[in-house]
């Protein structure tokens, strides 16, 4: 169907609409309503804009579809619909072009000073780096990337197990996420205790302390 769409055939376009129009409208409405958007015109504009994006540059965006992927084109269309809606909402909230604003040098210097990490923040970053190295050691090689991402989403970004499980890429149920985090936490605690007993200071990276 994609190949036919790319050739601009009207029947293929009808087929595309039959399959994806509901998905696009539903994604726009759900995303927009969550942000208390608008009126009917906004939604209509958004749906039109999504079709423009999908068709732009000879359907370039649809060429991103990985045919071996179970979500395939459905996920891609949902992603385009959601991101277009979010961009639209952000534009509505910030109608002025920030690049035209002028910022005083004093204000900029003040902001930069605020961005400089404090001593406590530096210690925190060093601890995170150490934990990250330890995660690479304690997680199984075939799942280390997923496990590490789940750990940081939970402990640094405050995601719940349910929110992590809702991400298809994780491939875990809520119970699975909870179990994973429990196992990692226990392993990290054990490793940290062992390091402390060996007398390594907290700032020493785990990899440097290995025999």
């Amino acid at each position: 169907m994609l190949v036919s769409s790319q050739a601009g055939k009207s029947d293929a376009w009808d087929s595309f609409l039959a399959r994806f129009h509901e998905l696009i409208v539903a994604t726009v409405v759900r995303t927009a309503f969550a942000s208390a958007l608008p009126g009917r015109t906004d939604v209509e504009d958004l749906v039109q804009e999504i079709y423009l994006k999908l068709c732009a540059n000879d359907f370039q965006i649809l060429r991103r579809v990985r045919s071996d992927h179970p979500n395939g084109v459905y996920g891609l269309v949902r992603a385009v619909a959601h991101s277009t809606t979010i961009d639209y909402l952000r534009t509505l909230r910030n109608p002025t072009n920030d690049s035209r604003k002028t910022v005083s040098l004093e204000a900029l210097t003040h902001d930069l000073a605020l961005d400089r990490p404090t001593e406590g923040e530096l210690h925190r970053r060093m601890l995170f780096e150490r934990l990250d190295v330890m995660l690479g050691d304690i997680c199984p090689p075939d799942t280390v990337i997923r496990d590490r991402n789940a750990f940081w989403l939970y402990y640094r970004q405050g995601f719940t197990a349910k929110e992590i499980a809702a991400m298809p890429a994780m491939g875990l149920t809520v119970k699975g996420v909870e179990s994973l985090l429990f196992r990692i936490t226990v392993a990290l605690r054990t490793q940290l205790t062992a390091d402390a007993q060996k007398g390594f200071p907290p700032s020493v990276r785990h990899s440097q302390g290995e025999e």
């Binding site: 609409l17 995303t31 209509e44 068709c55 979500n71 992603a79 959601h82 991101s83 991402n149 991400m167």
Partner: protein
């Protein structure tokens, strides 16, 4: 458009790509690593996951149904210069939409199970067979177009009203999961059914559709889902040995796991009790495949 202001901050498309699982493994790893380190992108991902995963409200369903009455034309920038050929197609599409609209409002007294059965009969989005659903051709395997949304939308609106009224019954959860499965939300359906199972661990109707959902969610090749499906459906068949959906789905799970003799046994047992010619025909085809292995 970038979400945050830090170097490497993700675009809104990347964020949605994580939530919809369309990124390559490398892209996913890079994106999630950044999210783990960036509060702004993390919050955007949290919102995107919520947006794309949550249930529709009754109001949203009504709004969606309203918008679906209008279909856009292909953007001029993308269409080939064949203007004359568009009018018949547009007229046919308009006729189809009017018919769909009439159909949508023609059955105000239909129950939710009846509406869901109607939607299931249009086309099923996976190989699994849903309990109480009449035969519908598998959309995934045979490339059939999406089923008309009216019956499903109407069922979802009814379910949303019942939920909004405070109903939290096992039956409601089962019907919600059925509608989620028809909406390609297999993961959400499994979670809904696990909740129903927690409330009623021995409810055979719940176990049967949960078995179907696990099989539907693992068509990409994972074995764990099929094993779970077999365990659940075996519990059902111990007490309801002629449960047609359970026999069909357990046979399918066995077949996908390469256990052809077990699949043949289930499907032959099913053919003895099957009354729907559509399902019977499909089972015969599957049986032929299983026996040829």
């Amino acid at each position: 458009m970038g979400i945050g202001t830090k170097p490497g901050c993700l675009s809104t498309f990347d964020i949605a790509g994580i939530a919809t699982d369309i990124l390559s493994p490398h892209e996913m790893h890079t994106a999630l690593s950044h999210v783990g380190d960036c509060g702004v992108c993390a919050e955007a991902l949290r919102q995107a996951t919520l947006d794309l995963d949550r249930e529709f409200t009754a109001n949203e369903i009504e709004v969606i149904a309203e918008y679906l009455k209008h279909r856009p034309a292909m953007p001029a920038s993308a269409a080939k210069p064949r203007p004359a050929a568009w009018w018949p197609a547009a007229a046919a599409a308009a006729l189809l939409l009017v018919s769909a609209g009439v159909w949508f409002f023609a059955f105000p007294g239909d129950s939710v199970p009846e509406l869901l059965a109607q939607a299931s009969a249009s086309a099923r989005p996976f190989e699994s067979r849903l309990p109480d659903a009449p035969y519908g051709r598998a959309q995934v395997q045979r490339g059939e177009e999406a089923n008309p949304p009216a019956a499903l939308l109407k069922a979802q609106a009814e379910l949303a009203k019942r939920a909004a009224a405070g109903e939290r019954s096992v039956d409601l959860l089962r019907l919600q999961a059925w509608s989620e499965l028809l909406s390609h939300q297999v993961g959400t359906a499994v979670r809904t059914l696990e909740e129903a199972r927690r409330l009623a661990p021995n409810n055979l109707d719940v176990l049967s559709i949960l078995g179907a959902a696990y099989a539907a969610g693992t068509e990409a090749g994972s074995e764990a889902g099929f094993s779970s499906s077999i365990d659940l459906l075996s519990q059902v068949l111990q007490q309801r040995p002629t449960d047609r959906a359970a026999l069909y789905n357990r046979g399918l799970a066995h077949f996908r796991l390469g256990q052809s003799p077990a699949a043949v046994a289930d499907w032959e047992a099913l053919l003895k009790v099957e009354t729907d010619p559509g399902w019977a025909e499909e089972v015969r085809l599957l049986l032929a495949q299983a026996k040829s292995r």
